[in-house]
Symmetry: C2
Subunit: 139 residues, 2 copies
């Protein structure tokens, strides 16, 4: 195995921020396809070049940093339903997890400079964006 310094911490740099009408974790949809609204992805000026080629109608995966999540939770009741047995968080989409990265597959509606309108997005207003990737074709 490759030798590595396991003490090294990994740092992420926010590349933008979500602007959304959703402001409350308790009432926000758990997934985008459960009634989440349109939202704006507002990118930092320094990374605008990295958006080149993205067009309205494209499907993209937005990676966010779920900054209101708990990082010390390893098991949860799926979908906060206490009638369901506890599951490891890696077997759920809970935002509570050691590294609370959100994955959101959305469609691009419009692009205005460094502002990209997408739908549907269940991330809360103010959530940092850390990466964007195209959806790959599915076999």
């Amino acid at each position: 195995m490759r030798v590595r310094d396991t003490a090294t911490r990994i740092y992420l740099t926010p590349i933008g921020t979500v602007e959304s009408s959703l402001t409350d974790r308790a009432t926000a949809p758990k997934q985008g396809n459960e009634g989440a609204p349109d939202a704006w992805l507002v990118f930092e000026p320094a990374v605008v070049e990295a958006l080149e080629g993205i067009r309205p109608g494209d499907r993209i995966i937005v990676l966010t940093w779920l900054d209101q999540a708990r990082r010390d939770v390893l098991r949860v009741h799926p979908r906060d339903d206490v009638s369901r047995p506890l599951q490891g968080v890696f077997n759920t989409r809970s935002s509570d997890r050691p590294n609370p990265i959100g994955l959101h597959e959305v469609e691009v509606r419009s692009i205005q400079g460094r502002r990209v309108r997408v739908e549907p997005l269940e991330a809360l207003d103010g959530t940092p964006i850390v990466d964007v990737k195209p959806v790959l074709g599915r076999a």
Copy 2:
């Protein structure tokens, strides 16, 4: 908009490491479905509880930290093909990007304690794992 302390740094804690026969970025497949091998996900003892409920046959999304990637690249030739015009990295799956997080959809083959065998995985041996999520049902 929610007020936030933008000076706060985001850091990830590795939850495990990839064990793979792939050791060279230049010759590794670019995507899992391009001939990538089986690999082991070796989790840290502290997070084993978070794996509860994952079974052989499950499809999961593994998030890795692509620690050999460049973070100062904003545009690339897709698939390193210089005959293709430069594209913003957010419109490609290049590992070079401001926050080089890898997304890998794989199938679980077997589980031995904190070691999980998956296929196919194009991540290099020694790559840090930062999250695991189930694949959600597709409409």
